[in-house]
């Protein structure tokens, strides 16, 4: 019964649906996403309806989230960025819950599918480009020219900047996907060792499984945080052309 540690990531269609040649079958990942959306909606509505002066536990947790995301936006985008608050907050909470719920044995980590993370990152990146062109027009192409570049370096700097821009959506998608997949593969391998090890030595990998699970909870937070803060940074770059870099120099 040798089983690949990557086996849990395979998806099997429960209800195959084909719409005009488009595969929109219902599988475990789709169901997990519905569960996440349902749970988040339920919890946040419960948290928001009480509105007491002395908050309930759930309400203070929700307030903590809102304050955290607001600080993140204010830090990276400034006041203008608050227009994106609903989008950024939705993204953060959705990714966070996908990561966290995936740690419960038997469930599925949606963010370990690169299709999901790539869809997010391409959407975010396209949005930052559109925002940039709407706000700055053709001048937004100036993002390819770092401020203070001497003229003779331009033919070298433009391709480098172009590649570094195009690498953004890729690194965003791969980072979340790779961290989630790697973490769960390690957990799978360690737990497999526990079972094959038996009582004599099996307790050792089991202890490590528990420790890794604790680390994975941290990773779930960090990866959701990194994804959202980079979303803010990219949108911020589109807002203030070279503004942030001007300060850094």
């Amino acid at each position: 019964m040798e089983e690949s540690p990557l086996h849990p990531f395979e998806l099997h269609n429960y209800i195959p649906i084909n719409l005009f040649g488009l595969d929109i079958s219902i599988n475990k990942a789709v169901i997990m996403m519905w569960v996440v959306v349902g749970l988040v909606t339920f919890l946040l509505i419960r948290a928001a309806t009480s509105r007491r002066m002395v908050p309930t536990k759930l309400q203070s947790l929700a307030e903590l989230f809102v304050g955290f995301i607001r600080d993140m936006i204010l830090d990276t985008m400034g006041k203008d960025g608050m227009k994106f608050f609903p989008f950024v907050a939705t993204l953060f909470i959705f990714i966070l819950f996908c990561n966290l719920l995936g740690l419960i044995p038997g469930t599925y980590t949606v963010t370990s599918q690169i299709v999901v993370t790539a869809a997010f990152s391409i959407f975010v990146y396209t949005m930052s480009i559109v925002v940039g062109f709407v706000l700055h027009g053709v001048k937004f192409l100036g993002i390819l020219v770092p401020p203070g570049t001497p003229g003779w370096l331009l033919p070298l700097m433009m391709p480098i900047e172009l590649v570094s821009q195009l690498a953004r959506p890729l690194s965003l998608a791969v980072r979340l996907f790779a961290n989630m997949t790697a973490g769960h593969t390690i957990l799978g391998v360690l737990f497999g060792l526990t079972i094959t090890g038996g009582l004599l030595i099996g307790w050792l990998p089991f202890v490590f499984t528990i420790a890794m699970n604790g680390l994975e909870v941290g990773i779930a937070f960090i990866q959701a945080y990194i994804f959202t803060i980079l979303t803010c940074v990219y949108l911020g770059d589109a807002f203030h052309l070279h503004g942030a870099e001007g300060h850094a120099h």
Binding site: L64, F65, F68, D75, P159, I160, E161, V163, S164, L166, A167, R168, L170, S171, V174, R175, A178, N179, V217, G218, F221, I222, Y225, I226, L230, V233, A244, E245, H247, A248
Partner: protein, 74 residues
């Protein structure tokens, strides 16, 4: 939100970010060079070589940009 404020997790997050940044730029640079070789120029492997060099430079530039951001936030 304890973890991102915890210095251990914050450091871990930053380290993980830089690694992917370097890799992604290299892949994009190499990929563009390879595509130019294969579909546009039929130029042997020069596109791939130049693409990889540009990708490496872009990756370091991205990592540098990230590092500059930490200085500001402390």
């Amino acid at each position: 939100m304890p973890p991102p404020n915890d210095p251990f997790y914050a450091g871990l997050g930053q380290a993980v970010r830089i690694g992917t940044e370097l890799l992604a730029a290299l892949i994009v640079g190499g990929g563009l060079g390879w595509a130019a070789d294969t579909y546009l120029l039929k130029s042997g492997t020069w596109g791939l070589v130049i693409g990889l060099v540009i990708g490496a430079a872009a990756g370091i530039r991205n990592a540098m940009r990230l590092a500059q951001r930490w200085d500001k936030s402390g």
